[in-house]
């Protein structure tokens, strides 16, 4: 512990967001540093590497206008911390945790390190409480449970923000009409999207906390904003007993920021130029969702990933899928057919669904209905290929029935529009559909 603040004017190199400072006495890895720019601004930075008394620091903001003679650096002897207080609910911040809503900064109850600490696996409670999102393809076939992380895989031009907005409006916990408190992290958002989400958040009756990094704001903030959001979420969930829904949009911007910073640090690139540690880095965010034995609250996560070139094997959706407990995949084909929400249930998956459905959670026949709908729809989808080759006339009656079922399933079960369905309505819709085509439910 140092008792005095040290200011250094010994910068030797500046490259992009990176600065080398020489002759530094006892810096720490991860220590917060303040850069005093020649025009009188103060900017935060973090210690990345220490080599003897030469220290490599990385600035969180833009480094334009820095020079070697007049720029100085002070070391704070503290690592990056997040201010926390119950007063945070209802506030909007930027990616540097400065109020964006015009009100003054709140007075923190305490400070917590931004990276959080890994949850002890033996302290985790298994997620099993059903969350009703109001969307049939999710509630019926890919059920979300409290403490789960379920990303939405979207593609350019698909209505991911409308889907997320509807989930925000409609989500309820099964046991009561209790609603979530939403923690919203927007990374690299355009103004158009920002205005849309802001309206949705303000219309919500329950509380929210937002961290907004706009498309033209510093890239480094994109790596910080989700960590602020999750630290706040953990605090509200596990200390204040709230159920938190964390929405992060768009994780693709996060990963691109990670790649940009990694390249600036001259690290070895991995697949498609993304750093080799991207899996561990993403896990350090996604794994913060969960529940703890003996605690009230929960952190449920719905990140949005835009698949570049609609490619689900691209490293970003690929690594995300390996960490998260399933995925909801939006399909361009369904969107073009005018179906909303355009969720393709075949590649979608919820890994924690089995524990959250059936007697005592939703309804006793849930598993049966869901398995049958899957089976028949998958069969119908398979037959579409055959139809493309031999034509409808060349097919058996039974096959034509399956084709019609698949169409009706997309139109009536998936394509519910903006209406909210309870899970009972969802299951009844599914049953009615199978009955209409006289399909066995077993």
């Amino acid at each position: 512990m140092r008792l005095s603040e040290h200011i250094y004017r010994t910068i030797s190199t500046i490259a992009g967001p990176l600065l080398f400072v020489q002759n530094v006495f006892s810096a720490r890895i991860g220590e917060v540093v303040t850069i005093h720019t020649p025009d009188g601004r103060n900017m935060e930075a973090e210690v990345l590497e220490i080599e003897g008394d030469t220290v490599l620091i990385e600035a969180y903001g833009g480094t334009q206008g820095l020079d070697i003679e007049r720029t100085s650096v002070s070391f704070t002897d503290a690592i990056k911390k997040v201010p926390l207080s119950s007063d945070i609910v209802g506030r909007i911040f930027n990616g540097s945790f400065e109020p964006k809503d015009g009100a003054p900064m709140f007075i923190p109850e305490r400070l917590t390190p931004i990276t959080g600490a890994p949850m002890n696996p033996s302290a985790r409670a298994r997620p099993a409480d059903f969350i009703e999102t109001g969307f049939s393809p999710i509630d019926g076939l890919n059920t979300l449970v409290r403490g789960q992380k379920l990303p939405v895989f979207s593609a350019a031009g698909l209505p991911s923000k409308e889907v997320v907005a509807a989930i925000l409006r409609n989500s309820r916990l099964a046991d009561s009409s209790k609603k979530f408190v939403v923690v919203f992290a927007a990374l690299g958002l355009t103004f158009h999207e920002y205005a849309f989400y802001l309206k949705v958040l303000e219309d919500m009756k329950t509380g929210f906390v937002a961290f907004v990094n706009m498309a033209d704001e510093p890239v480094m903030e994109r790596l910080l904003a989700p960590r602020f959001a999750l630290t706040v979420a953990e605090y509200l969930a596990f200390e204040k007993g709230m159920d938190i829904l964390v929405i992060i949009t768009d994780m693709t911007n996060y990963c691109d920021a990670l790649r940009e910073i990694s390249t600036a640090r001259e690290e070895l690139p991995g697949r498609r130029g993304y750093p080799g540690y991207m899996y561990s880095d993403l896990a350090s965010l996604y794994e913060r969702a969960g529940r703890i034995y003996g605690k009230e609250g929960s952190v449920t996560m719905l990140p949005v990933v835009t698949m570049p070139e609609d490619d689900i094997t691209h490293p970003i959706p690929d690594l995300t899928g390996y960490i998260t407990e399933g995925q909801i995949v939006l399909s361009r084909e369904l969107h073009q057919k005018g179906i909303f929400p355009p969720m393709d249930v075949l590649p979608s998956l919820s890994r924690l669904m089995q524990k959250g459905i059936g007697e005592g959670h939703t309804r006793a026949d849930h598993r049966k209905v869901s398995n049958n709908l899957y089976k028949y729809y998958a069969k119908g989808r398979d037959l579409r290929r055959l139809e493309a080759i031999v034509g409808r006339d060349g097919m058996t009656k039974a096959d034509i029935l399956m084709l019609d079922f698949a169409d009706a399933f997309e139109r009536d079960f998936v394509g519910q529009g903006m209406t909210r369905r309870t899970v009972i309505e969802t299951l009844d819709t599914g049953l009615a559909l199978m009955r209409k085509f006289s399909l066995e439910v077993n």
């Binding site: 390190p113 949850m119 080799g276 398995n371 060349g394």
Partner: protein, 529 residues
């Protein structure tokens, strides 16, 4: 991280900084050593002290491991939780074994007996298992005094004539395979209760198998099903860089479920090593070694041990991250060039052996692999293929159709099929092989018919072919598919054989009726009656 310190040994364990972070020496230069730290280095300063302990990274071996849950460095997670709360916040050394607990010790040797390395000195009862208290693999002497009755692990079991104590438990370096007398080829089957594995691609005790599959193909569920149902004595399961919620789910399930073979709670026969994806990367790299050493320890008592790791790719990625931070020259896709030799060295720790104490024990390995983008040409899958005895490929398109376990029946293979089939013929039925051949044929024929059907439509096929397609579908849905969440999650070989026999008998009967001149629809109707 590099330190100016002489006298450190390669792979020696060190404590770093005031926070006493655990590390390992990974490179030595003339007056400098590079240390890999197993924990979060945030807050570490350049001038902090580093202390070597003179020994490599080891695990502690003794009674009390079964039913336990450890992190990648063998710290017991439950006691860690009791000390630090639900989050793992700092570094703390907690021993894996409970030194306060008392055990009832029954000696098998007496005063004046000569102890050779790895010999059983006595036993204690660990749950349902008789736990052999063995001398360390590098320890020997003549007994001068031996204890009997209630002991705790920090008390010696007695003394040797040269006044050395006989330790109650010992340590073993994780990166060195525990020694044995000799090794045998695997011939006995490892029954998993999964029809598609036991019947089509049987595994062997002492063998190795990999399950590669893209995300959502059910690797974890399959690994966990095998962990629950396999007919082995002891299971060591490593959650290596995987999801915390899944581990919580599994822990809860292991509390509830019972071993189908002994009807005892599953937890009693299981050791869990858990290093989730958000726990430190270096400890993830060490976790599979920590776990396999514990598995070898129980093998040395003459037990059949199954080692499962989910997922090996996360281990390889940890290796890659560490290699990159050491600025080593990267090989394919950034993985270090020693990836395949490390992997084969690791997988060779499996096998059937005669232990130092003359018992027969086996260590089988089932490892899941998560190829990026579901592409099996990637380096980790390819490196595994060189050593593994069975390759069970999990297929994304089957998984999308909710065909679980999504094992592809054309691409997968098992090198143990021949040896193990002999056993199934003898123990279950002579018909085992015939049924297997018939089942393979039907699936094969279906594949070629499917191509024809795509052109001419199912209507255009002959009745005999349509019957075959129908039977193949039954094989796929009623035989190969198994719902892990139902009673059917475990299928003993007798049930497996009965099921396939019934499907093929139905097929032959309907085929006979077709030959008599009935149409397919009539033949099916006659069957239903």
């Amino acid at each position: 991280m590099s330190v100016d310190l002489k006298g450190l040994k390669l792979y020696e364990r060190v404590y770093v900084g005031h926070a006493m972070l655990t590390g390992e020496v990974v490179r030595i230069e003339k007056d400098r050593a590079v240390v890999q730290v197993y924990e979060d280095t945030r807050g570490l300063a350049a001038s902090e002290p580093v202390k070597g302990v003179g020994r490599p990274l080891t695990v502690r071996l003794g009674p009390g491991l079964l039913g336990g849950m450890f992190d990648g460095l063998q710290r017991p997670l439950e006691r860690l939780k009791a000390e630090m709360g639900p989050f793992i916040t700092g570094s703390r050394e907690i021993y894996a074994l409970d030194y306060m607990k008392r055990w009832e010790f029954t000696p098998v040797l007496k005063n004046g007996d000569v102890v050779r390395p790895g010999q059983v000195i006595g036993t204690v009862q660990e749950g349902q298992f008789q736990h052999s208290m063995m001398s360390g693999p590098d320890e020997s002497g003549t007994i001068a005094r031996i204890a009997e009755g209630s002991i705790s692990l920090d008390e010696p079991l007695g003394d040797y004539t040269d006044e050395r104590e006989i330790p109650g438990c010992h340590e073993w370096p994780v990166r060195i395979a525990r020694p044995f007398r000799r090794k045998f080829s695997p011939v006995e089957p490892l029954i998993t209760g999964q029809r598609s594995i036991d019947f089509l691609f049987p595994l062997a005790r002492g063998g190795t198998a990999i399950f590669p599959g893209g995300f959502g193909t059910g690797k974890t569920i399959l690994e966990q099903s095998v962990a629950k149902f396999a007919d082995v004595d002891i299971v060591v399961y490593v959650g290596c860089g995987e999801r915390g919620n899944e581990m919580a789910d599994m822990i809860a399930e292991f509390e509830e479920l019972r071993d189908p073979w002994t009807k005892r709670p599953l937890r009693e026969r299981t050791v869990l090593v858990v290093n989730t994806s958000n726990m430190p990367v270096a400890a993830r790299e060490a976790s599979i070694y920590t776990a396999v050493t514990m598995a070898e320890y129980y093998r040395d008592m003459g037990y059949h041990v199954l080692f499962l790791a989910d997922s090996l790719s996360r281990w390889a990625e940890a290796l890659r991250e560490i290699s990159a931070s050491l600025e080593e020259m990267p090989g394919e896709e950034g993985y270090p060039t020693y990836l395949s030799s490390r992997l084969s060295g690791f997988m060779e720790r499996a096998g059937v052996v005669e232990t130092l104490s003359g018992k027969i024990g086996s260590l089988s390995m089932i490892l899941s692999v998560s190829p990026p983008g579901g592409d099996f040409t990637e380096p980790v899958t390819q490196a595994c293929l060189r050593t593994t005895g069975a390759f069970l490929m999990l297929d994304t398109s089957l998984a999308h159709r909710r065909h679980y376990p999504a094992i592809n029946w054309f691409q997968s293979y098992s090198l143990y099929a021949g040896e193990v089939a002999v056993h199934y013929r003898k123990k279950i039925s002579e018909e085992w092989d015939d049924m297997l051949v018939r089942c393979r044929q039907i699936l094969q024929q279906e594949e070629s018919l499917r191509e024809v059907a795509e052109i001419v439509g199912a209507e255009g096929l002959q009745d005999a072919d349509r019957l075959l397609m129908r039977t193949a579908e039954r094989i796929r849905t009623d035989f190969l598919q198994q719902n892990a969440y139902s009673e059917d999650g475990f299928s003993p070989p007798e049930k497996t054989l009965a099921l396939i026999k019934r499907i093929i008998a139905d097929h032959d009967r309907a085929g006979g009726k077709l030959k008599e001149g009935m149409t397919l629809d009539e033949a099916i109707k006659a069957e239903d009656k």
